[in-house]
Amino acid sequence: MLTYLIKRVLWMIPMLIGISLISFFIMHLAPGDITNNEAAFNPKASEESRQKLRELYNLDKPVIVQYGLWLKRMIQLDFGNSFAGHQKPVFWQTTDKDGNVTKGMIQEALPITLMINILGLIITLLLAIPLGVIAAKHYQGWKDRSITLFNFIGFSIPGFWLSLLLMYWLGVMNNWLPISGLHSLNYDTFDTWGKIKDSISHLIMPVIIPSVTGLAGITLFVKNGMLDVLSQDFITTARAKGLNEHQVVYTHALRNALLPLITIVGLSIPGLIGGSVIAETIFAIPGMGKLFYDAVLMRDFPVVMGVLTIGSALTLLGNLIADVSYAWADPRVRRGVVKG
């Protein structure tokens, strides 16, 4: 188990370098740079001050030198500062000599995106597992078909459209839920219970809408997994031993069918992080997706690179955790009976 772990962790290093290389060169496909943003396109902005900016950020050096400088800093987990007028640190907070702390952009955005996606994932799983089991039990029956249809409709709606419709219906027409944002303006004056209630009401739409779109894939996976397991010998044995159908399905079969789900959850992380761009833009949530999108439009290279790298590193980490827990949870792998 330990050697497996070490091997997996070591694999991440060349992967990370590959990722950073790909993303770095993509950044430089662009003919534009920070000095082209809207603020700079003011009649009073002088070309000199732009040139100054380019020099400071080595934008005038060859690409390969820029990458070298960037990689060197990345290894020290120093992603530099944003290009924007006030150069917040990209990754983690810095403290100046007076003890003032400036928080890092990713440091602030990441927990929000993680929280929303983890909540969303939990909801997706809570819905997908029973739906998948039901679909498998009634394979090709009307229940199976309606679940499939429902899931695919959810998957097929353009997310931002569904969001706006629900914002209008739930937020404007009925005033049941807040429309956008993470907290109420006077959040700080609430007591603990009030804070919890406030957070929940703000999170309902941004968490549930993306989970509905993600439901189809996971449900299908559970369903197919169940179908596989149900046709295997040990289930037949269990049935033959006279265990009732309920026990067979819910204890023996489900446990085995859910194992591969761990891998799928690990694999779905990049999709979740990537998908957060639209949801965060529409619901005014200051997470990783919004951060990335703004940075792309501003050509804020340090932020673009930082978010891409951290996002990918997280995916690798997620996959690692998934693989390790899979290995840990599957007794066959644990005992080394089956090679992972």
């Binding site: 732009r50 100054k52 007028g85 006030h86 928080k103 993470l182």
Partner: protein
């Protein structure tokens, strides 16, 4: 009072942040030496008075007595000097430094006097001192202006001070009791950050924000059709200091030919654009200044829509439909070009209307709308375009040297259409050094006349700025003064019964 903006400022030191979002918040916190009054004349902000020397090269500002920063520290001419030194500092990357670099010498004879001298008379100087927000030297000395924590917790001197800044969510200002201009009426100014416009409008409908900028469709179609919105909202329209235009790349054939430019100008129906795109909420212009201001030459009128004249001019320039395919040709090549514009609904629509009108006279036009950063870097900077539809947002000073002077054509400069006219160059140079307002006005009237005649761009329209404001906000100057609906906002108030007793949980 709760407002909303689509982008969060990166910081509140405007001279380095440079974004309009930063300006919108910071202008409530900081003062400049001068400001514009209701009728757009300069008056003192921190300055009590100012005098200009006889040779017109030196300006002496006298500060108001007993000025203090919000933290109680006195505000003196040393702060002004500090701010000037900061903006021209090599290490400060301010997009606005160029005006202040012209200052040859700045000095502070005493705590209330700030004196600047220029090499030669510089007419936009006073205007430039209304744009520089004065920063506290005692808090910023020795700090790196680009990374200082001050940018996220500023101390200023104006009506409001920063209360809370919730990253990516909202910025809350509260009344500054030590304001150098006296107290403001409204206790709290809250700005929420809502990136998506449709979401912002939903928030306005649900009465979670008090004010929002509108587009013509929301202004004249949606809100009037909804009684519940009409009941709550006041609508304002005002002419902004900006206009939309179609600019030719004068270095590309056939746009170097004035007959072609004029023909296209005649062929475009500007009224149709105002009616179709702005739903009537815009006006025709014939000079690059806000109509009604002294700089705008009222004697000029736009090119009327006249397709026959356009065709005649094109024929004169050698464009004839030889193969009768409906498209004109010259030297066997069809007259076709591409209009590029950025992703701005009004500009896109204007381009579509232009496309149709030009097709009528036999010009084949394609349109591309491009995301802003690519638009600037890929097309504008490289000069790789035929025709653009864009807008200029202008300051209050009439100087437009950077847009039209032939020396301003380097990549990244603003004369990207490649305009080169010695008469215009001379007028612009004169206008910069002439301080007498009447003489200056004549110079710019002449400038606008030559510009209209030479037709390097086609003025499309000046659209109205449209704002919705909740009726609970009262005291708004009516009718809207030239300075705009936001003028004197410190006098606005919310009567007790209309206040949000607690800012509603949603």
């Amino acid at each position: 009072m709760i407002g909303a903006m689509t982008a969060e400022p990166s910081g509140l030191i405007y001279m380095v942040a440079g974004e309009s979002a930063s300006a919108a918040i910071a202008s409530n916190i900081f003062n400049a030496l001068l400001k514009y009054n209701a009728t757009l004349d300069l008056e003192g902000d921190l300055a009590e008075s100012w005098t200009i020397s006889d040779d017109q090269k030196t300006i002496t500002f006298k500060l108001k007595p007993n000025l203090t920063w919000a933290d109680g520290h006195p505000l003196t001419s040393a702060d002004v000097l500090f701010t000037w030194k900061l903006v021209i500092d090599e290490k400060t990357r301010s997009p606005y430094a160029s005006d202040y670099q012209l200052v040859k010498k700045a000095e502070t004879p005493d705590a209330f006097t700030f004196k600047v001298s220029y090499d030669q008379a510089y007419a936009p100087a006073l205007d430039s001192w209304s744009g520089l927000q004065i920063l506290p030297a005692h808090l910023l000395k020795g700090q790196d202006i680009h990374t200082t924590a001050f940018a996220r917790k500023p101390v200023g001197s104006n009506y409001y001070q920063l209360d809370v800044w919730k990253n990516g969510e909202n910025i809350q200002l509260s009344r500054n009791t030590k304001s150098v201009l006296g107290p403001a009426q409204i206790d709290k100014l809250i700005t929420r950050i809502i990136p998506d416009n449709s979401a912002q409008f939903l928030e306005l409908m649900a009465d979670n924000i008090d004010t929002m900028g509108l587009d013509p469709i929301k202004y004249s179609r949606i809100i009037p059709s909804r009684p519940e919105l009409q009941k709550n909202l006041n609508l304002y329209k005002e002419l902004g200091n900006s206009y939309t235009y179609m600019g030719f790349n004068l270095k590309h054939k056939p746009f170097d030919d004035i007959r072609v430019r004029k023909a296209i100008n005649y062929a475009i129906d500007k009224q149709e654009i105002i009616d179709g795109v702005y739903l009537g909420l815009g006006i025709n212009i014939a000079s690059p200044y806000k109509p009604g201001t002294r700089w705008s030459n009222a004697a000029l009128s736009p090119y009327p829509y006249d397709a026959q004249k356009a065709k005649a001019l094109l024929k004169e320039a050698g464009f004839i439909d030889t193969n009768s395919d409906g498209i004109l040709e010259r030297d066997g090549k069809p007259f076709a070009f591409e209009i590029i514009t950025n992703q701005n609904k009004e500009r896109e629509k204007s381009a579509v209307l232009i496309q149709r009108r030009l097709k009528d006279i036999g010009i084949d036009v394609k349109i591309r709308a491009i995301e802003w950063a690519s638009f600037i870097s890929r097309f504008i900077k490289t000069g790789d375009f035929d025709v653009v539809v864009l807008g200029w947002g202008l300051g209050l000073d009439p100087d437009q040297y950077s847009i039209w002077h032939s020396s301003q054509q380097a990549p990244g400069q603003f004369n990207f259409i490649g305009y080169n006219n010695p008469t215009i160059d001379k007028l612009l140079e004169q206008g910069r050094t002439e301080l007498d307002p009447d003489k200056r006005m004549n110079i710019y009237h002449e400038f606008a006349k030559v510009l209209l005649e030479d037709c390097p761009i086609v003025y499309l329209s000046a659209g109205y700025g449209l704002t919705a404001m909740h009726k609970r906000i009262q005291g708004i100057v009516d009718p809207i003064p030239p300075a705009g609906v936001g003028y004197d906002s410190h006098k606005w108030y919310i009567p007790e019964p209309l206040r949000r007793n607690e800012i509603s949980a949603q």
